[in-house]
Amino acid sequence: MSRLTDERVATAREIIGRFPRKKSALIPLLHLAQEQDGYVAQDAMVHIAELLELAPAEVYGTASFYEMFKFHPVGKYCINICTNISCQLVGAWNLLHHAEERLGIKSGGTTDDGMFTIEDVECIAACTEAPALQVNYRYRYKVTPESFDALITELESGKLTDEVPPHGTLASVRQTTTQAWSNRGVQEQAQVDAR
């Protein structure tokens, strides 16, 4: 859909400044784009390519390697149900099945109203709390069909707006410390010599 807003370009420049090489900021910038539109839009990739002095094909090449980046709109709430071994052992597939029935979509699909997407995902590091899921990367543990339904109701009613921002927003706190990156190697060497 769109290029990055001016405000996000400012954030982007700050992030770029934290790395010795521009391209290192690519993944953070793609997250910024996804936060803006809920997915990584084609124009946003072109814009990021400009900011990082890359070809758009390089941006897409990297972006498409990573599962979290979506290149088409997904639901406002992306519900990732873990089906990996620890969750499979305690009923993840039944949970996924229930979720599919409840929302009337298959894994990978999005509800017609654009509210929900379900995905069957790999281990999300909550194995002792299985079956587990994430909604927009916020955890829910030991999920039962009942608690899943309750979650959907809460999301629909807007009760969880604070806790679960729309798809694309990751951390709501950012690192704000700025760092200048010139001549680090020389500085380091000087510190070593001084000791």
């Binding site: 391209k23 305690v90 299985a130 690192q175």
Partner: protein
């Protein structure tokens, strides 16, 4: 998550309500080790303590951190510390807790490590899906900068270091250290061949780079505060210190526990009431994975083996990332095997032909067996394809691939098919599991039919 009582090192603040804040951290003794290091120790002395502690890396390979730090070539700058917070090995759940519950402990460990390594910059790479960990770390970093624990002239010394927080976007392979470096450079997370690209010599931006796991570095403040000797006194002589285990699957009370290395056994973790309290429904264990999905499986006869690296290695598996998955007697071994192979097939970066093509092939064959379309020759085929990825099919693997991901997909096959061949044969013949075993997706498959 339940936390057992007893002496703990890195999880000691998990039940302090504000342990994750700067105030809470400092109140409970935080940053004292950093102050001590920069004010009264030389970098070499800090390095020596870590060496003396003999702490093995907690990321998977278990390589001694002190030795690894010694691989940095002298006089080559800039050099970097990269912190691996990509935790994605199925069954593994510990680094996330350390980042969410005690972010300052990690930051302190990072700054001390940079001091020892003479590095002025560190990159803290957190798994993309861990939004909360990213928030906690961002806040902690901002506070640590504000309090002069990171940044210029730390604690009034002439030592300065910056930590850049960054994160991934969903790719298990990025946990592999060279893939992590590629990802940090804005590339597709495809591993580099070692040699020639040993990170300690040619790592991030082809400069010397140390990659350490979150848990490894979280131990550093303790080691520097108490001395490497004290740390070494904990645990087993061949595996020092405490280590975190996530025990999941068919146990009564799954959880993450910090236990001394070596002194206990798998049985104790499963059965002791302060840990997992036995197998669910009073059942028995059929198999368990000792160190994450990549590891070869263990069986009831391994229950009394010590949680000690050399012992577990010798038995042909690994403690890996401290991820234990218990499977009781009702487990469908074909489905379990398939699920893990499917993971590796989905997560292969695609660089090496054997991994890219082979893991997918294995997954398809297993799926076909599960779907009732198996052929008798499929079992041999599984081994043949495995052999093309991991000649000899053993652990640690010989490999035709760049990194061990491809060979990891062979572990569940080698483990499950060798031990439970009859379950595979039964599926091939009858299209369903043996009696007494539950298919994990009975309802799911029905709906797809």
């Amino acid at each position: 998550m339940s936390v057992p009582t007893g002496p703990r090192i890195i999880t000691s603040r998990f039940d302090v309500a504000d342990g994750h804040t700067y105030a809470g951290y400092v109140r409970t003794g935080g940053y004292a080790s950093l102050r001590k290091a920069v004010s009264s120790m030389t970098p070499q002395q800090v390095h020596d303590e870590v060496k003396a502690a003999e702490i093995q890396g907690r990321g998977g390979a278990g390589f001694p951190a002190g030795t690894k730090w010694g691989f940095l070539p002298a006089g080559v700058h800039p050099r970097y510390l990269v912190i691996n917070g990509d935790e994605s090995e199925p069954g593994t759940y510990k680094d996330r807790l350390l980042m969410e519950r005690d972010p300052h402990q990690l930051i302190e460990g990072i700054v001390i490590a940079c001091y020892a390594l003479n590095a002025a910059q560190a990159f803290l790479y957190v798994r993309g899906e861990m939004a909360h960990a990213q928030e906690r770390l961002a806040q902690a970093l901002n506070d640590a900068y504000a309090n002069n624990m990171v940044g210029k002239n730390i604690c009034g010394s002439n030592f300065s270091v910056d930590i850049t927080l960054t994160w991934g976007a969903g790719a298990y392979i990025v946990g592999e250290e060279t893939a992590l470096i590629e990802s940090l450079e804005g590339e597709r997370g495809m591993p580099r061949l070692k040699p020639p690209f040993f990170p300690a010599v040619k790592g991030l931006y082809m400069q010397p780079t140390i990659v350490n796991n979150v848990e490894t570095l979280a131990n550093v403040p303790y080691i520097v505060g108490r001395g490497g000797g004290d740390f070494k006194a904990i645990g087993a002589p061949t595996s020092t210190g405490m280590r975190m285990f996530a025990v999941s699957g068919h146990v009564n009370t799954p959880g993450v526990f910090e236990v001394p290395n070596g002194v206990t056994t798998f049985r104790m973790l499963f059965e002791a009431p302060e840990y997992c309290g036995g197998i669910r429904n009073g059942g028995s264990i059929k198999a368990f994975i000792p160190g994450g999905a990549s590891a070869m499986w263990f069986f009831p006869e391994h229950l009394d083996m010590a949680l000690d690296k050399p012992t577990v290695d010798k038995a042909g598996s690994m403690l890996g990332s401290g991820a234990i998955v218990a499977m009781d007697q009702t487990t469908d071994m074909v489905a379990a095997c398939w699920r893990i192979v499917r993971f590796f097939a989905r997560e292969s970066c695609g660089k090496c032909t054997p991994c890219r093509e082979g893991t997918t092939w294995l997954e398809r064959v297993l799926k076909r067996i599960l779907d009732g379309h198996g052929r008798p020759e499929d079992i041999d085929l599984l081994f043949e394809v495995s052999e093309s990825i991991s000649p000899g099919i053993a652990w640690p693997p010989r490999q035709t691939t760049i990194c061990p991901l491809g060979p990891s997909a062979v572990s569940p096959i080698a483990s499950a098919v060798r031990r439970f061949r009859h379950e595979f044969e039964h599926y091939i013949e009858h299209g369903r599991p043996i009696d007494g075993v539950e298919s994990p997706f009975a309802t799911h498959l029905a709906s797809h039919a």
